[in-house]
């Protein structure tokens, strides 16, 4: 741990200052951005302003997803409190990514509801969910390979900007000002996440770890209220993992986001998460504080198998 700190400080001098700058930036740019943000929200749904002041609560209840005979999610409930980090864990195939795809509108739910700050997400297409301030990253990198890193981040600003074919084609002064303003903010976010020196490179040419961070930066560029992170440190080495965890913790602290996290790295889950939900074969088998969940016999069974447990026949159907 101390090594991690030293490691971070080794790179730090410039980054520390950049970080604080980013913080100032968030707050400094905020007034206008806040208004823009709330404007966007008001445009897309009729929620009373009191609810917009703080990030909303995500309530998943009875969520069920079936694919032609296979039940990927079965009556799952959990709640992500505003400003908290909530982790979803479970063995491979437990339905974690399916859950993310439903939350972001990529898959349709067969039943149940997902409410976020007063809006029902299950009936909305992905871009409308994005407009509510829900951002996500992907387990497998989903950047536009041929565009520069900066343009990839600028895509995150899509919902906050308005330039269309005509104003972009004719380069109206208004469109150029909008572009410059959002580029400045995107660079701040890039510094915050530590990808600023790669901004000019095509995203597809960057190292894997940088691409993963770029995805996080792109999600943050949406100025989200809820961030869905699908295995943010999968395939990373130790140093990259520590740095990613640090960025996520800082993003949460500085931007006041709610974060929903799918992750296999238990060390990271235990360090970051306030609450954990455990899925197995599409069912929620445990939930609560990380320490408690870690000792839960159902969780241990799901991960290690139940061969030596005298399991009751009624439990047998789910677990191998």
């Amino acid at each position: 741990m101390s090594e991690a700190n030293r490691g971070a400080r080794g790179v730090a001098p410039s980054q520390e200052t950049e970080l604080s700058e980013a913080n100032r930036g968030t707050r400094g740019v905020a007034p206008s951005q806040e208004t823009e943000l709330s404007e966007a929200n008001r445009g897309t749904r009729g929620v009373d302003p009191s609810q917009e002041a703080e990030p909303g609560e995500l309530v998943v209840s009875g969520l069920t997803v079936r694919f032609a005979g296979l039940t990927a999610l079965d009556d799952v409930d959990f709640t992500v409190a505003p400003g908290s980090v909530h982790a979803i864990i479970g063995p491979n195939g437990a339905g974690k990514s399916t859950c993310f795809n439903v939350l972001s509108g990529v898959y349709r739910a067969s039943g149940g509801s997902v409410r976020f700050g007063g809006a029902e997400l299950t009936s909305l297409p992905p871009h409308r969910i994005a407009a509510l301030g829900v951002a996500r990253t992907f387990q497998n990198i989903a950047l536009s390979r041929h565009q520069t890193a900066e343009d990839n981040l600028m895509l995150g600003r899509h919902r906050l900007t308005r330039a269309g074919f005509a104003s972009a084609g004719l380069r109206t002064p208004w469109a150029r000002r909008e572009d410059a303003r959002h580029r400045a903010r995107v660079r701040e976010i890039a510094r915050f996440v530590g990808v600023d020196e790669h901004l000019a490179a095509p995203a597809g040419t960057l190292p894997y770890g940088v691409q993963k961070r770029l995805e996080l930066a792109r999600a943050l560029a949406m100025e989200p209220r809820l961030l869905l992170l699908d295995e943010p440190v999968a395939g990373m080495n130790g140093g990259e993992r520590r740095r990613m965890a640090e960025v996520i913790a800082r993003a949460r602290a500085d931007l006041g986001l709610s974060i929903l996290l799918v992750e296999h790295d238990m060390g990271m889950v235990m360090r970051l998460a306030d609450e954990v939900t455990v899925l197995d074969f599409g069912k929620r088998i445990a939930g609560g504080e990380p320490e408690r969940v870690q000792r839960d016999p159902a969780v241990i069974r799901a991960y290690l198998g139940a061969a030596h447990e005298p399991a009751a026949p009624s439990h047998g159907e789910g677990n191998p």
Binding site: V11, I129, A130, A142, L143, M154, R159, P207
Partner: protein
């Protein structure tokens, strides 16, 4: 780093010399070239406008379209219909010609909009197959709606007239001892259309819509999740690309001075796809380069066919120049796909990035160093 320019300009600071060279290339030919090459240049410029439109759709958004020839036909016949006065069995609106030209572009856009429920929903290759239907519908209508299109024989194209200045062979316009006929005059019209068409497309590609389009091409789900309404964008780009085709078609009609239905068939659609693949998918410069390549090659073969082996006059038994050109640019497509993934337009950046990679490989930043595998 932080001082980088905020909005990309058309010409970089070190490339100022491109401006006079560009002007010379675009404005001097009417003073030096004969009618044959002027005609070729007009085709190339009109094709460039159409190819820019197709490249917005296919190269940048990843939506294949075989129906581009149909929208060119809408533009060409739309102009003729709107500009002609009704006479011997033909109908027409007899609008002022500049208005008819704009009307032709709008008409092509409306036709694209009518197809947009399909264009918005279908992805990539599937749209290509669906849009194939447009060609067959177009050919059927062009041959059979005789009162509008003139049927098999086509229709004469009324010359454009702007504020009393007519783009035809009327005598009396002599600039620097060069008598300006229709071709010379149309040349400047074509330049005046191509430059803004390229400029607008570049602005779109480098701005917010361009980023959304490229991401739809590269990762559709990511685009949607980032807040891009994918279907609406696909439909919008389809309409835009149709309008480019409409402008190209109307210009082509003016250059041909007669529209014939045969021209707007399957081969034209394939020519346009060849243009954007050879030139470079997704870039404006690529579309222009490809359009010039594909339009000029058959003309070159026609002109110099006598000196080339295998190429003979049409009907004399050998390979006709048009066929030879198709074979050649068929080979060009294969060569480009194999060796130049970004087409003709990618040659210069490729050389440049190779040079800068050699420079960059000398030092690594601390961050990258840490990420090197131990």
């Amino acid at each position: 780093m932080s001082e980088r320019r905020t909005s990309p300009r058309l010409i970089g600071p070190g490339r100022w010399w491109l401006v006079p060279v560009g002007f010379a290339v675009m404005l001097l030919p009417p003073f030096y070239l004969d009618a044959f090459w002027l005609q070729t240049g007009l085709f190339a410029m009109s094709a460039a406008i159409g190819a820019i439109g197709l490249n917005l759709l296919t190269g940048s958004t990843g939506q294949l379209s075989m129906g581009h020839a149909f929208f060119l036909a809408v533009g060409a016949y739309g102009y003729v219909y709107l500009a002609s006065s009704p006479e011997d069995g033909m109908t027409g609106l007899g609008l002022p010609t500049p208005l008819a030209f704009l009307g032709a572009i709008v008409l092509a856009g409306v036709a694209g909009g009518a197809f947009s429920p399909i264009a918005g929903r279908l992805r990539g290759v599937y749209l290509g197959i669906a849009s194939l239907a447009l060609i067959f519908i177009g050919q059927h209508v062009l041959f059979n709606a005789e009162s509008v299109t003139g049927g098999f024989n086509g229709r004469n194209v009324p010359p454009l007239e702007i504020f009393g200045f007519s783009f035809d062979d009327s005598p009396g316009v002599v600039v620097l001892n060069v008598p300006f006929g229709a071709l010379e005059r149309l040349w400047f019209l074509a330049v005046a259309l191509l430059v803004p068409a390229a400029w607008i497309a570049r602005g779109i590609l480098r701005g917010r819509p361009g980023r959304a389009m490229n991401t739809i091409r590269d990762h559709e789900v990511a685009a949607a999740v980032m807040g891009v309404p994918v279907a609406r964008y696909r439909a919008g780009v389809f309409v835009l690309s149709s309008m480019y085709a409409g402008a190209a078609g109307a210009l082509l009609a003016l250059a041909f001075r007669r529209t014939v239905p045969d021209y707007f068939g399957m081969f034209l659609a394939l020519d346009y796809l060849a243009m954007i693949v050879i030139g470079g998918l997704g870039s404006v410069a690529g579309a222009v380069a490809g359009a010039v390549f594909v339009s000029v090659l058959p003309q070159l073969l026609t002109r110099f066919g006598d000196d080339l082996p295998m190429v003979a006059a049409p009907g004399s038994g050998g390979v006709s120049p048009a066929e030879a050109a198709r074979i050649l640019y068929g080979a060009a497509v294969v060569a480009v796909v194999l060796f130049l993934p970004r087409g003709l337009a990618g040659v210069w950046p490729m050389l440049r990035s190779a040079a800068s990679r050699r420079r960059a490989s000398r030092h690594l930043t601390p961050l990258e160093k840490e990420e090197q595998p131990a």
